[in-house]
């Protein structure tokens, strides 16, 4: 990690810059062409009242002030953070477990891998219909398993205490994706490390804790950040189970608005209520929160991530 003072570039610095430039050039171009303008524009909009068409009226900080007194804003924020707090750790554990399973030296492992990965490529639109059936409190498979285990009959989509957990479960169907990433990193762990540990008498669990785990920490960090970002921006999985469209109108976003996620509420403001200014203000609040979260995770990661290089 170098931190050369800004206006004092050494010869080596300059040379490194020159060599790096062509590599990152595509991103730089894309950033200026497709990203910077929309981001700046949305910041500008957050200080205006704007319907999407016509003129924008400057309103100063009133959008932001209004946010603080909007109960649905706080509710959607709570829903999102609660969901993320559940989904990220659970998703991480599930992905690692799946990756370990996909890494087994079994002849036909390719078939198992494909089967585990399959749900994450099913069209989400159709998958949510299926999942609603599986989560039926009386006739669904999930509650059937629960009754076998003498558990309670949970009203997954009808009880506001369980709706977010339902979405977490639905999200785990897509765990095949992150599992693949972990599989790639598991495969990069040199096997001679395991062999020498086994010779020293280390059992499977100890080998996992002391060899595998440290070496996959860079990927764990990736999964944490990726999962957190996806978590706070969750949109579709909440929108479909709830989209009751009788006569073209929708009911609340889940019982007691428990599935009103932040980005979904943002979207409603932008395109259903035609209040793009308010939506943009919401977006920037989310931006600040996400950056804080990400920085916190990155700082925390210094204590447990192990990089071979740099």
């Amino acid at each position: 990690m170098n931190a050369a003072p800004r206006f004092h570039l050494t010869k080596a610095d300059r040379r490194n810059l020159r060599t790096a430039a062509p590599f990152i050039l595509p991103w730089v171009i894309g950033f200026f062409a497709f990203t910077l303008y929309p981001i700046v524009y949305s910041l500008y909009l957050s200080f205006n009242r704007y319907s999407g068409i016509g003129d924008a009226q400057p309103v100063g900080l009133s959008n932001y002030r209004h946010l603080t007194s909007d109960p649905l804003f706080w509710k959607s924020l709570w829903n999102t953070l609660y969901y993320t707090g559940l989904a990220v750790p659970i998703g991480l554990v599930v992905a690692i477990v799946l990756a370990l399973a996909m890494n087994q030296r079994v002849r036909e492992v390719a078939i198992y891998r494909a089967a585990i990965y399959l749900p994450s490529i099913l069209p989400l639109f159709a998958l949510t219909f299926i999942f609603i059936v599986l989560l039926n409190p009386r006739f669904g498979f999930v509650n059937y398993l629960l009754t076998l285990a003498h558990g309670p009959e949970i009203n997954w989509l009808g009880d506001q205490r369980w709706t977010k957990m339902s979405v977490v479960l639905l999200a785990q169907l897509g765990a095949g994706g992150p599992a693949l990433i972990f599989l790639a990193s598991l495969r990069a762990v040199p096997s001679d490390l395991y062999e020498s540990a086994a010779l020293d008498g280390a059992g499977a669990l100890r080998r996992f804790r002391h060899i595998t785990l440290p070496l996959i920490t860079p990927v764990i960090l990736y999964d944490l950040i990726y999962g957190t970002i996806l978590g706070v921006q969750i949109f579709t999985p909440a929108y479909i189970p709830v989209g009751g469209t009788s006569g073209g109108a929708a009911y609340t976003a889940g019982p007691d608005n428990s599935l009103l996620f932040y980005v979904f509420y943002l979207y409603k403001n932008a395109f259903q209520y035609s209040d793009m200014g308010y939506a943009s203000a919401m977006a920037w609040v989310l931006f600040v929160i996400s950056v804080v979260l990400a920085l916190a995770i990155m700082r925390w990661s210094k204590y447990w991530v192990y990089y071979e290089a740099a």
């Binding site: 059936v133 009959e153 009203n155 009808g158 609340t252 007691d256 209520y273």
Partner: protein, 446 residues
């Protein structure tokens, strides 16, 4: 340097293939004229979010129009995805790539007009068409005294009941004959409770759950004679005492009597979200009564043609009260910046006129908004006639620039009342405050 030339090679290869790809994917400006168009006509695009079979009927009307028009030829484009409609429309309109005619939910006309998405139709002489349409439909199509849409179809709601289930429970269903006028809520409650049935401690048949399907806040608010908007003060009034009473009776107390959690479990089990119509609990015999719309007639005919059911007015709180229902439906609009607005208007007049609506009603069994068609009973076989008869007395939701927001606020209040997490008066006051805060920016509205 070798580095640059190597990379340059790759880059130009990529660039070339992209250009080739673009050539494959573009080129609408030089498209040949549509088949079925008369020569000398200019094209008008018409967007709809409807899917087959409804869109098939729209296609028929478009074809018929194209045949007889010497100035305009319409191209129908399906743009599926209902909620995201306005995202697509807004982005398209603001950059001049929008359609000439758009099929818009009539309830949202005021909102979109206030947002500046729609073209004022008075310039085309639309105001002269006012008397052709049912009054509530025309009211919804106007904003600040100007017409922004031409009404297309509509729908009304009524109380459906299962003759077989009720009779088996010993109920005298002759009391439900529409000729006797709207039934009272008390009467329905007594009948419904006879039908309730539990197996293993959980409901498998419930007589009547007032707030599902089309038993909305608006439905019961209108049934109780409440008013949702006061034009004089430019304020929404969901905390109208009659509406509060409706919430208390039909949502709060009703659910409490049946058992809040028990009902929720019943609903999640037999009526989960996005269920295909053939599994509907009313069709499957899990509900004795249900408030729903006229489109269900078609579903019954398709999925359970031998169903023993009847239709009557939505129940009212006191004997002798006037029946009440509300109507939704669609309309045709011209978005701002339409390139062929005149051609678009010509088409709009046709499809929302008697000719177009007749075809649509015949083929889809929806309800027309053209007054003259309402008296043609050949268009409304069976129970559909009852819904047509309700039209003159149907309400429409107040056309507000915050219509969607107001609806969501009312739904939140309804949900709180149903789950007994807040008392109706408080919940509705919160809805009023939040909505009026947004509405005030648009006042006055006349």
């Amino acid at each position: 340097m070798s580095l640059l030339s190597r990379r340059g090679w790759k880059a130009s290869l990529v660039f070339a293939s992209i250009v080739l790809a673009a050539c494959g994917g573009g080129g609408t400006s030089t498209a040949p004229p549509l088949a079925g168009c008369n020569s000398g006509t200019t094209q008008a695009t018409f967007w709809t979010s409807h899917t087959p079979p409804d869109s098939d009927s729209l296609k028929h009307i478009v074809d018929a129009f194209n045949k007889q028009s010497t100035t305009t030829c319409v191209k129908l484009v399906q743009v599926p995805g209902s909620e995201t409609d306005i995202a697509k429309l807004t982005t398209a309109v603001r950059s001049g790539t929008g359609p000439d005619v758009y099929m818009l939910d009539r309830f949202t006309v005021a909102e979109r007009a206030a947002a500046g998405v729609l073209t004022d139709l008075s310039a085309y002489g639309a105001s002269s068409l006012a008397s052709n349409f049912v009054s509530f439909a025309w009211a919804e199509a106007n904003f600040k005294g100007k017409p922004y849409a031409l009404p297309f179809d509509t729908d009304t709601r009524a109380l459906y009941y299962r003759k077989d289930l009720l009779q088996a429970a010993g109920v005298d269903i002759s009391a439900l004959d529409p000729a006797k006028g709207p039934p009272t809520i008390d009467m329905i409650r007594t009948m419904a409770n006879k039908v309730n049935h539990k197996t293993g401690g959980a409901y498998d048949v419930v007589g009547f759950i007032p707030y599902i399907n089309q038993g909305w806040h608006y439905t019961w608010g209108f049934a109780y004679g409440g008013s949702f908007f006061d034009a004089a003060s430019c304020k929404v009034t969901p905390n109208d005492p009659k509406i509060v009473q409706a919430f208390k009776d039909m949502f709060y107390d009703w659910d409490k009597a049946l058992g809040v959690d028990a009902v929720q479990t019943f609903l999640s089990s037999y009526s989960p979200p996005n269920q295909p119509a053939q599994q509907d609990p009313f069709l499957q015999g899990h509900l004795g009564f249900v408030v729903t719309g006229d489109w269900v007639l078609g579903q019954i005919a398709t999925y359970k043609p031998d169903l023993a059911y009847g239709v009557t007015y939505i129940p009212v709180p006191h004997a002798g009260d006037a029946p009440a229902t509300w109507a939704g439906g669609w309309s045709m609009v011209i978005p701002k910046g339409a390139k062929n607005d005149k051609g678009g208007y010509e088409f709009m007049k046709y499809i929302t006129g008697a000719e177009g609506q007749k075809v649509y009603t015949k083929e889809t069994q929806h309800t027309p908004t053209i007054k003259s068609l309402a008296s043609d009973s050949s268009l409304f076989p069976g129970q559909h006639q009852f819904f047509i008869n309700q039209l003159p007395a149907a309400h429409s939701r107040p056309p507000l620039p915050v219509g969607a927001f107001y609806w969501d606020q009312l739904s939140t209040a309804q949900d709180a009342a149903v789950r007994n997490t807040a008392d109706p008066a408080t919940a509705l006051k919160a809805a009023a405050d939040a909505t009026n805060a947004k509405l005030s920016a648009f006042c006055p509205l006349t």
